[in-house]
């Protein structure tokens, strides 16, 4: 028999607040955060677009559609986004097919190269194009080219390489999950390779293809960095918002164009979500049989396609790096034809930003803001995911919907909303705080979704076991849930850090000379005509992100062994 005497020494559990109350407090705080920093700015945008001092008006919309130059931006946006979407989806499908369905070599090379653009501001593509094909570009000089890269072609090419990795990720997931035994069944029934490809492979991956296309469309139509740099006089919706607000101080017209931009952006996001869900319902858990060696001609074809695309991405980043370390890109006067000569006269002077009227301190600002964003974002998504998925208080469905919303809102629109909403709030206006709050909200969706996936993998009983043993919500969270979510948490920290380092559109309206960021400085440097220095700044930003990424991955590897 147990010694029941000992029981007396056990004090009952002390709890400050019941778990439900704690859950409600947390959920309310997050709710208030999103109310003020997501919904309120959006309402301000809408309000600004349809009111004047005298009341309700549609004059802004009349003005928008009345001015041919501005009106064109809508058509231009659709044109650029449509072409980009088609080309990107086809390219991504071919590479995804090569990686998942053929036995070509260098798959991991293609995968890691294609993740590079995710770690760079969405301006490096355009910047590299300018360095290569611009008026004084390497290739322009080489071939004495008379082409004009500025405008629609430049935007489309830049956007293709910007969207490619996102589309590729979706299609790799899709193609590696679809049961390849269907193909074998079709082959055994006498279908030739082309028939199998067009009748089985493509239809079975259709939702993945649609989802990738919708995402590419959304990314292109909302992107700001690439079109502002390489668009020239070719205006798209995003750049037109910026021109109206920064150039003309027309906040009302900027807000109006924002509302117009919101429509296709949200639509594309909803479509992407819909297709993603359909896609997952098609994915079977069936074991995949061994991949049979592909024929030599198939391997040759897909190797070539993959290496051309990966090679182009590598060239983009090499060009950025090279441009930043060459003394004069295009050579000093008269040297423009002696390409090898100017390509090998190196200099570090482009890294001296003070000479360009800018300061290296923006890197430091970007860095510490990103660390704060990363830690807050990591904790906030983890806590929200935990409460929504495991504690399910009333209203958690609503909260879930609100936290998914930011992914649909173009960063530029949200940023403009912040300016309209918080112009009179001293501790926010043009301060680091507004930038931090904005970047967390703008990237909350993806962080939240990955946390939810992780939470779903933690057995609900584990949390309940802790509760029944006397742990209140905070204790259960810190002692049980957090240790089991470490990898997901640090992944999110890394994600928020990277997004924060490279984001342009979300913060372009929020920075000020006092609080300036590295990614925005790239835009300003290009604007001032210092392409080499812009490349230098890009190199620094990409370098920091890649180094942090590598450090995290190596720590994950070590920890991964210990945890499993």
């Amino acid at each position: 028999m147990m010694n029941r005497q000992e029981e007396l020494t056990i004090k009952p559990v002390r709890t400050v607040l019941p778990d439900q109350v704690v859950a409600y407090i947390i959920i309310s705080v997050i709710f208030v955060y999103f109310l003020f920093f997501l919904l309120y700015p959006l309402v301000q945008i809408l309000k600004t677009s349809i009111t004047t001092e005298s009341g309700f008006t549609l004059s802004n919309y009349v003005e928008y559609f009345g001015k041919a130059r501005i009106r064109r931006s809508l058509w231009n946006s659709f044109y650029v986004a449509s072409i980009t979407t088609i080309i990107t989806t086809i390219m991504a499908f071919l590479v995804a097919y090569a990686i998942t369905r053929t036995t070509i070599r260098g798959k991991s090379f293609h995968k890691s190269v294609s993740s590079l653009p995710l770690m760079a501001p969405s301006v490096v593509q355009a910047l590299a194009l300018i360095s290569l094909f611009g008026r004084n570009g390497l290739i322009t000089n080489w071939f004495s080219g008379k082409w004009d890269i500025y405008g629609a072609p430049g935007i489309i090419i830049s956007e293709i390489f910007y969207c490619f990795p996102y589309a590729l990720l979706i299609l790799i997931t899709t193609l590696s999950a679809v049961d390849t035994r269907m193909n074998e069944a079709a082959e055994s029934l006498g279908a030739g390779p082309l028939t199998v490809f067009s009748r089985i492979t493509i239809p079975s991956a259709r939702y993945g293809i649609f989802s990738a296309a919708a995402l590419a469309f959304n990314l292109t139509i909302t992107d700001f960095g690439n079109p502002i740099v390489i668009g020239g006089n070719y205006n798209v919706l995003a750049t037109e918002i910026y021109t109206q607000v920064e150039g003309m101080q027309r906040f009302d017209l900027g807000a109006t164009i924002s509302v117009i931009l919101l429509v296709p952006a949200v639509l594309a996001f909803v479509l992407n979500n819909y297709f993603t869900k359909r896609n997952y319902s098609l994915i079977s858990g069936a074991a995949r049989p061994f991949l049979r060696p592909s024929s030599i001609s198939k391997k040759a074809l897909f190797s070539t396609i993959s290496f051309i695309i990966s090679g182009a991405i590598v060239i983009i980043f090499l060009t950025i790096l090279w441009t930043s370390i060459v003394d004069v890109w295009g050579g000093r006067s008269g040297e423009s034809k002696q390409i090898l000569k100017w390509l090998t006269s190196f200099s570090t002077r482009h890294y001296n930003f003070a000479h360009r009227g800018r300061s290296i301190s923006v890197v430091w600002t970007s860095f510490w803001i990103s660390i704060i964003v990363a830690l807050f974002g990591g904790w906030l998504t983890l806590i929200t995911g935990y409460i929504v998925e495991k504690r399910k208080p009333h209203g958690n469905q609503l909260l879930y919907l609100i936290t998914v919303l930011p992914a649909a809102i173009p960063g530029l629109v949200l940023g403009l909303g912040y300016i309209l909403a918080f112009v009179k709030v001293n501790w926010l206006y043009y301060k680091a705080s507004i930038i931090i709050l904005n970047i967390i909200v703008a990237n909350f969706t993806l962080g939240m979704l990955s946390t939810m996936t992780n939470m779903k993998n933690i057995d609900k009983s584990v949390d309940e076991a802790a509760t029944s043993l006397g742990a209140d919500l905070p204790k259960s969270f810190f002692q049980v849930i957090f240790p089991l979510s470490r990898i997901s948490f640090w992944n999110n920290v890394l994600f928020f850090f990277e997004r924060s380092m490279v984001t342009i559109s979300a913060v372009i309206f929020l920075v000020s000379p006092k609080t300036q960021l590295a990614s925005i400085t790239i835009i300003h440097l290009i604007d001032d005509g210092y392409v080499e220095s812009a490349c230098a700044m890009s190199t620094i930003v990409v370098g920091i992100v890649v180094i942090v990424h590598v450090i995290f991955l190596s720590i994950f590897k070590k920890k991964g062994i210990k945890i499993m």
């Binding site: 028999m1 147990m2 029941r4 000992e6 029981e7 020494t9 056990i10 004090k11 009952p12 559990v13 002390r14 709890t15 019941p18 778990d19 057995d459 009983s461 584990v462 309940e464 076991a465 802790a466 509760t467 029944s468 043993l469 006397g470 742990a471 209140d472 204790k475 049980v480 240790p483 089991l484 945890i563």
Partner: protein, 366 residues
């Protein structure tokens, strides 16, 4: 014996689905009770309400006389054992078992001695530095069991604790849970869908169906005297005949079959006429030998001819599926009897249905 847990008119709704309807129940101190029923019958919901994870929509839950509806789970000091073990994978066995005591700020030395004592109780003293994933399923569930016992809970709640384990380990661990319960004299409330488990370890079985309690009784009573067709069907195997009761005869007009039944058998139905369902266990049906005389005390009206369809060898007994009067029934005979008779498929043989071995339930269908 005092009453430990009392459920008064408990109803639990999830949106529009009613999981538990107007339930009344008492669990006595030191008692081992089992909630038995198919999935979705409300047994786990009831357990979770007692644990404090769900709040009843209506009704009162009392513990030692006091209403505990609004007492948070942490303050109830009821141990819980989960189907999935729910061990903390990042903590050692020792840390897992000591978790509840740590939450109660018990000094470390006392936690250690208590943990050692419990590990000894289930024979896992040499495993205390291991992590849960390094243990077998049976060992993990033992750890989960003593973890829930560490804080001297007044009541232990077990939610299908053995469902995830292999058959043999299940039987061993079942015996061990029973031993621990007897040794500690603790009240245990156990949820299972496995009738063998429920009948073999509990003092009382609560059979649930669609949110209702069908019957609360000792295991042997549940088996021998099921109070409803559902219980007769769910616990063990039964054959059912529907028909119209006239005095002591049940006639089915459609199939033309009729059985005589005794007054004892009619008790559960509690009526002298009307639609009833008769049930009889497969082992109660007697296989008659050809040519031999039928014993004098047999009621000849209850001898029926049937055709053997399938014969399944189950070890000690042989189970036959028999086509009889338009329905398929199950008849169990012993292996010895089977050897003697050498019955085979498509044989037509006579069966005797003893009038006293029927149970009658009012109404037709389930």
């Amino acid at each position: 014996m005092g009453k430990d847990i009392v459920l008064e008119n408990i109803t639990k709704k999830f949106d529009k689905i009613v999981a538990v309807r107007d339930m009344n129940l008492q669990v006595n101190e030191g008692e081992f009770v089992c909630f038995l029923g198919p999935s979705g019958c409300g047994k786990t919901t009831t357990l979770r309400m007692i644990a404090g994870f769900e709040t009843p929509t209506k009704g009162i839950i009392r513990y030692k006389g006091e209403v505990i509806n609004d007492v948070i789970p942490q303050k109830r000091n009821f141990g819980i054992v989960f189907q999935s073990y729910a061990l903390f994978p990042h903590m050692t066995v020792r840390e897992n078992v000591g978790f509840g005591l740590k939450m109660r700020k018990v000094p470390k030395s006392k936690i250690d001695s208590r943990v050692d004592e419990l590990l000894e109780l289930v024979g896992l003293s040499d495993q205390k530095k291991k992590y849960p994933p390094e243990l077998s399923g049976g060992q993990q569930q033992r750890v989960a069991l003593i973890r829930s016992l560490a804080t001297y809970p007044e009541i232990l709640l077990l939610d299908e604790p053995l469902s995830a384990l292999d058959a043999k380990i299940r039987v061993n661990l079942r015996a061990e849970i029973k031993r621990v319960q007897t040794e500690l004299g603790i009240t245990m409330i156990y949820v299972t869908h496995d009738q063998e488990e429920a009948l073999s370890i509990s003092d009382r079985v609560i059979v649930m169906n669609r949110g209702f309690i069908e019957q609360v009784d000792k295991p042997i009573e549940i088996y021998k005297n099921p109070k409803s067709r559902f219980v007769a069907d769910f616990v063990g195997t039964s054959n059912f005949f529907e028909g119209e009761l006239k005095k002591h005869t049940v006639v089915n007009d459609k199939t033309g079959i009729s059985f005589n039944v005794t007054s004892d058998a009619l008790k559960a139905a509690g009526a002298a006429s009307g639609a009833v369902t008769l049930s009889i266990r497969p082992e109660k049906i007697v296989l008659l030998s050809d040519g031999k005389n039928v014993p004098a005390d047999f009621d000849r009206a209850n001898i029926k001819k049937g055709t053997i369809e399938v014969v399944t060898f189950l070890g000690v007994i042989v189970r036959s599926l028999v086509q009889l009067a338009g329905q398929r029934i199950i008849v169990d005979i012993t292996e010895t009897e089977f050897e003697e008779r050498r019955i085979s498929m498509r044989d037509t043989v006579s069966f005797y249905f003893p009038p006293g071995d029927f149970l009658a339930f009012r109404g037709e269908g389930a």
